[in-house]
Amino acid sequence: MGAVFTEFPWGVILILLPVTGGILCFLWPQIAKITGLFIVFVVALLVVGLAWQIFNNGVYRHAVGGWGAPLGVDLYADGLSLLMLAITALVGMGVSVYSAAYFKHEQAAQFWPLWLLLLAALNALFLSADIFNVYVTFELMGLAAVALVALAGSREALGAAMRYLLAALLGSLAYLLGVALLYHGFGTVDIALLVERAEPSPVIWAALGLMGAGLLLKTALFPLHFWLPPAHASAPTPVSALLSALVVKASFYILLRLWLEIFDPLVGGAGVEQLLGLLGAAAILWGSVQALRQTRLKLLIAYSTVAQVGYLFLAFPLVAAAGVSAWSAVTYLVLSHALAKAAMFMAAGNLLCFGGHDRITDLDRVVQRLPLTAAAFALAGVSIMGLPPSGGFIGKWLLLEAALMQGRWDLVAVMILGGLLAAGYIFKVLGYAFTQADISHESKAVPASMEWTALLLACGAILLGFLAVPVLSLVGIGDPFGIGEVRP
């Protein structure tokens, strides 16, 4: 019995099931909602199965079709991939329950197939072991995400979707040219084989430039963030939550993987880390200031994503001396931001559904009228600001500690300023949520499941603050950060 579980190809099913489900939902729109919900929950169970397998057997590797590394497509999962799959499943379940109440009739029939395809692409991306497969999953993810943004149907949404598509395609093509150069230089696209064969050469620099630029554009690091705020703000709310929580993290995950395994050992210390850190610091300040200036709630949250992405890049210049604690910080920030930002967008969606608008100054006593949603927004805000006890606090604290240890006072100042600005934009929203607006609007009832999912995800972001030890030991499985030890 146990052997069946430890040998079962969980990874393959994790990709095949959502694809099949997406096609089923497309063919039979009448049962799309039930099928979609069912499949998302089964995917969560499969992730648990994969986790169990990884605990027992160590790192997961599967040669699809039995071909093996140089020619075939391999699936690979270590602690870092497992955490990304888990957070995808968790946020995915929340978004699915939310969407079941949010989308009606025709929109629902269009949403479920696209969302399941996006889920399949995300799972495939986190399980990919070769850089060409990553390109394919990027395109699957990008096309599904763009179509989801366009679901809103408004002029702004179509324009934003178009801009998003152009940016995503440009990023993918730059990435693909980098893949072509790496293949030419070292004769393989398998990450593990590339690590063995790669050596410092102009090819490595050219590939780093092209792939790095493509991935930064997809991750929306300042100043390549121009496409993000309109796309995330004008998409339907569950889609905004998916994009900010998961899709942006997917390209960051690949960037982190490639940097750790291929580029850092070859070109580390040549100033690339410093450049990434500088852009990250600029993103924090620019994104936070822009968020503070917004008058629409969803745009404010979208700019907050630009700022929070910046924190992820602050770790790069700190790693040389701080080692694993900086990467633990990044892992923690990715996980807690995924939960908190999904919750925040959902809360904004509830307010939008309740009052019919998302103008911050016209939030009319929502704290009394929608207490669960207001609580969800506030709890998610605690994690975004980095106040204890929350996942965001752990991540930012580890990062701050690493910066203090190395005497990087510039980065310390940026982090503290970023935290203050985040507090500024979150309290600005909460302030208006407590007071009465000049003009009162007609309000509509918000389904209870939409309020509860937002609150539960926000609670998850807080709970993450108490789970530091298990999460950080989980991420060490398979040694993704190349330090050879499990605990910081």
Partner: protein, 102 residues
Amino acid sequence: MSTAFLYALVGTGLFALGLYALIVHAHLLRKILALNIMGSGVFMVLVALAKRTGDAPPDAVPHAMVITGIVVAVSATALALTLMLKLNAKSGHAELPDDRRE
């Protein structure tokens, strides 16, 4: 300089040309065409660099990658064209709304 290397250089040139056109042109159809030219440039690099040494048969793996890439490019172009038509129907012109006018 071998012929294959020349092809690869031309491919890089096409990539750069497409990037330039993507940035300077406002009309969406031109932007979509520019992306397709960039894609063709990348495919050309892949195909050209597959021929490694003089008489040996070329490596087949990059060719398989190009086939995959073409499938992706066709689907992406189809989605982009549909979006362009929808945007044109809603706003009356096939250009991206300018940020500064908002």
